[in-house]
């Protein structure tokens, strides 16, 4: 246990950062004398390097986490700040699956899950993650075995079925936070139910973590989580500027710390740096793309395996995605969290997540973003892997056209699995969509 803890701390504090410095040095040597490629994008954000280092060290440290500290695998909508004071190392299978998708590993990992009987019609993240568990293959070297699975159904019910399979595989406890879907306003007994479950979560987590949480510690991590979501919200709001200093596609990658490290200083420090950089770009008139003529909104998860190609296609045609409903989701919770009442306010905050709310709320959100970000059009990613996010998009498209007055396109794809995406027909549709603005 002690040796493992030393390895874990060394990985996070010494070896990981050292490897990153080495890589930075090697890269700078390679870059010398190299000719810069001409792209339709503005100069790269310096924060990209910091993001890569932060996440690489985080995952590197994770290789040594089991046996050193308690490990929880959690869903992206889980109130993770409540676990922080107990010293949990948390793994986000969704974030891991997104990395696998970017690296085009999903077909191989999904094949392994499908061979066990998982249908290809199931969520691509889940198939990827289960395939990674079955084969033990991961681009991160190794994922630590969980001591606890923590699942919150505020993003979908799929996570419950997925985590139930993980619990059976790892033979570890599954802590479930079941959040009733909100139609209009949540009933008081619905919020009370979530609060009661959060209290049960704390008991279970304390048992696994081997210590009691001090109220002050919980208030502090909650305060940090609120600060983190506020900073993330400010970074996103930078997109309101014309030209936007970055793109929503950039935002998809830069959201990793708010999802995985919420409630910690590393996360907040990262966003302070990113925000400074975005403000500096605004001041200097630097855009995320070189010549921003039209501003778009993205709805639903990104198409992870195709982000580069899609962002290039749009940027080449002077279209910039300046906001998205997806990245905005992590700002919402923070506004409702009260560090003086970590559990009670978390119950409300995590119930009122965009994906746990009705379509009227979604339409209102898109309408608000459209105004705030001065958007001309929207691409609604009809995501085969995410049914709850995709239901209603056909009606949303009509309402955006008639009521909100912006052009919208429903794009059939998948957030993880390239086998469910027909690239050429999709790009033809997108080009026709862009032509309609001229």
């Amino acid at each position: 246990m002690i040796t493992r803890r030393i390895q874990y701390e060394m990985a996070g504090r010494v070896v990981g950062p050292m490897l990153m410095s080495l890589e930075r040095w090697q890269k700078s040597r390679r870059r010398r004398g190299g000719k810069k490629k001409d792209t339709p994008f503005g100069p790269s954000l310096e924060s990209v390097r910091r993001l890569k280092e932060l996440m690489t060290v985080y995952y590197f440290k994770g290789r040594y986490a089991d046996g050193a500290v308690p490990v929880a695998w959690v869903t992206s909508g889980f109130p993770v700040e409540l676990l922080r004071p107990l010293g949990f190392y948390v793994v986000y299978p969704e974030n891991h699956a997104a990395i696998c998708s970017v690296q085009r590993l999903v077909p191989e990992l999904s094949d392994a899950a499908e061979a066990e009987g998982y249908s290809r019609d199931l969520c691509g993240y889940a198939r990827c993650d289960l395939g990674s568990v079955i084969t033990k293959k991961t681009p991160m070297g190794r994922l630590p075995k969980p001591d606890m699975l923590a699942c919150c159904t505020n993003i979908c019910q799929t996570v419950l079925y997925w985590y139930r399979s993980l619990a059976a595989h790892f033979q570890v406890p599954l802590v479930l936070i079941d959040t009733p879907f909100v139609f209009g306003e949540a009933a008081p007994h619905h919020i009370q139910y979530v609060k009661d479950q959060l209290e049960e979560l704390m008991e279970a987590a304390e048992k696994i973590g081997g210590k009691k949480v001090a109220t002050e510690e919980l208030e502090e991590t909650t305060r940090m989580a609120v600060e983190g979501t506020r900073l993330w919200g400010e970074c996103l709001a930078a997109g309101r500027n014309e030209p936007s200093p970055w793109t929503a596609f950039d935002g998809f990658f830069h959201m990793a710390p708010i999802v995985t490290m919420r409630g910690g200083e590393e996360c907040n420090s990262y966003y302070r740096g990113l925000l400074d950089e975005l403000k500096d770009r605004i001041q200097r008139g630097i855009g995320g793309i070189k010549n921003e003529k039209y501003r778009l909104l993205w709805d639903n998860l990104p198409i992870w395996f195709n982000v580069r190609e899609l962002s290039t296609l749009f940027a080449e045609n002077h279209f910039n995605f300046v906001c998205s409903t997806y990245t905005d989701a992590w700002t919402e919770a923070g506004s409702r969290i009260d560090p003086a009442d970590p559990i009670g306010s978390a119950a409300e905050a995590y119930t009122y997540i965009i994906l746990n709310r009705d379509l009227k709320n979604r339409l209102d959100l898109i309408e608000r973003l459209t105004k705030e970000y001065k958007v001309h059009g929207a691409v609604l990613h009809s995501d085969r892997s995410c049914k709850p996010y995709s239901i209603g998009q056909i009606d949303l498209k009509e309402r955006l056209g008639e009521g909100v007055g912006i052009k919208a396109l429903v794009l059939e794809a998948d957030h993880a699995d390239p086998r469910s995406y027909a690239r050429e027909p999709a790009e033809n549709r997108l080009l026709a969509f862009m032509e309609s603005f001229h």
Binding site: Q157, T158, Y161, R164, F181, F183, I391, I394
Partner: protein, 367 residues
């Protein structure tokens, strides 16, 4: 037939009619308030209206068909709709029709909690049952009579007992699967007393000796559609000895529970006493143990998993079912469909080949 029956219920008994989406809901509360529940398992076949096009093709056919049906012209006799909190798609359909048009009548929702029984879930479930009862009381314009609720619970216990008896002593029942499931599924729309009467009549087909001599199989899945599956099984020489359809066996509370002081608490207890359903349980192991026991108790020799395409709660459990039964040496056949009216020739051939395999192996039945 169904339409004529519902019209008669409205005309002769002045009953309100609620369309109810799958799966789990407290029917006892509806009965106590004199509301006729008409369950909407599709309906099967092609969607009956254009509104199915408001949902992507990767949304299950049950939800697409139900959306088309509710937004169509054929629901004049229905006074409202009840959506149990079953899955993301039913949840999404509910907000789609209410927020973006297609359903103007009253909407009720029932959030059954997920996860294993614990204090927070039990407290919530009782509160949710009371909340639904209060909303439905407003709907019918009268207070809930607690004695009526106790009587309704007792009535549904008798129904469950009768249904469980017909399924549980299947080998002594001189009735084809097609006939049995027709009787059982009429409970999806009959007034409880009428359904109980038909169940009692069906009990007349019990014989002291074993009359089902075919190959006993267990079937698990969402809903037995198309019903022709039973005919194919019968012709292939098999019968359903154990049932785990979400719409049939999985909704039966196995033991008779006493109606306690607080009928809402009794309803909550019943919910936890019911067989594990993937839309509710958080433990795969408990469900696999239950299925294994069900399989053994009825002497089944093979398993058919009959699922709706795109149905996530069901499909996520399939690998565990496959593993559980392959460890027992029992063959498993997965069938996926989209609420078609007929079984395709390919599916028929697969069922026939599966039964042949069971018949030729050491598991073979007496046919």
């Amino acid at each position: 037939m169904r339409k004529a029956y519902i019209e008669k219920q409205k005309r002769e008994h002045n009953r309100k009619v609620l369309a109810v989406l799958p799966i789990h809901y407290p029917k006892e509360i509806l009965t106590a308030l004199d509301i006729l529940a008409v369950e909407l398992w599709g309906p099967p076949g092609p969607p009956r209206g254009d509104a199915a096009g408001r949902l992507q093709v990767y949304i299950c056919s049950l939800v697409r068909n139900a959306t088309a049906f509710l937004a169509g012209d054929d629901v004049g006799m229905v006074d409202g709709v009840l959506y149990p909190h079953t899955c993301d798609s039913i949840q999404g359909m509910s907000t789609l029709l209410e927020d973006f048009g297609g359903w103007e009548k009253p909407v009720f929702r029932f959030f059954h909690p997920r996860g294993e029984s614990r204090k927070s879930l039990r407290t919530f479930l009782v509160a949710e049952l009371k909340s639904l009862a209060a909303q439905l009381s407003d709907f019918v314009g009268r207070e809930m009579d607690m004695d009526a609720l106790r009587r309704a619970i007792a009535m549904h216990r008798r129904i469950d007992e009768a249904r469980a008896g017909l399924l549980g002593r299947r080998s002594h029942l001189e009735m084809s699967d097609s006939e049995l499931y027709r009787v059982l599924r009429r409970g999806e729309f009959l007034w409880p007393e009428d359904h109980l009467q038909e169940l009692r009549e069906a009990e007349g087909a019990f014989r002291p000796e074993v009359v089902q001599k075919g190959i006993p199989i267990m079937i698990s899945g969402y809903v037995p559609e198309p019903m022709a599956i039973f005919q194919v099984l019968e012709e292939a020489g098999a019968f359903v000895a154990a049932d785990d359809y979400a719409g049939v066996g999985r909704r039966l509370v196995p033991s008779i529970l006493e109606v306690g002081e607080d009928p809402f608490a009794t309803l909550a207890e019943m919910s936890y006493a019911a067989p594990p359903c993937p839309t509710q349980t958080s433990t795969q192991g408990r469900r696999m143990e239950y299925l294994s026991r069900l399989f053994d108790a009825h002497g089944a020799v093979g398993v058919i998993v009959h699922e709706l395409k795109f149905c996530e709660p069901e499909l996520f459990d399939y690998p565990a079912i496959k593993k559980t039964f392959s460890e027992k040496g029992a063959p498993v056949l997965l069938l996926e469909g989209e609420l078609e009216l007929e079984l395709s020739g390919q599916v028929v051939t697969r069922i026939e080949a599966f039964i042949e395999l069971l018949d030729s192996g050491e598991h073979g039945g007496a046919s």
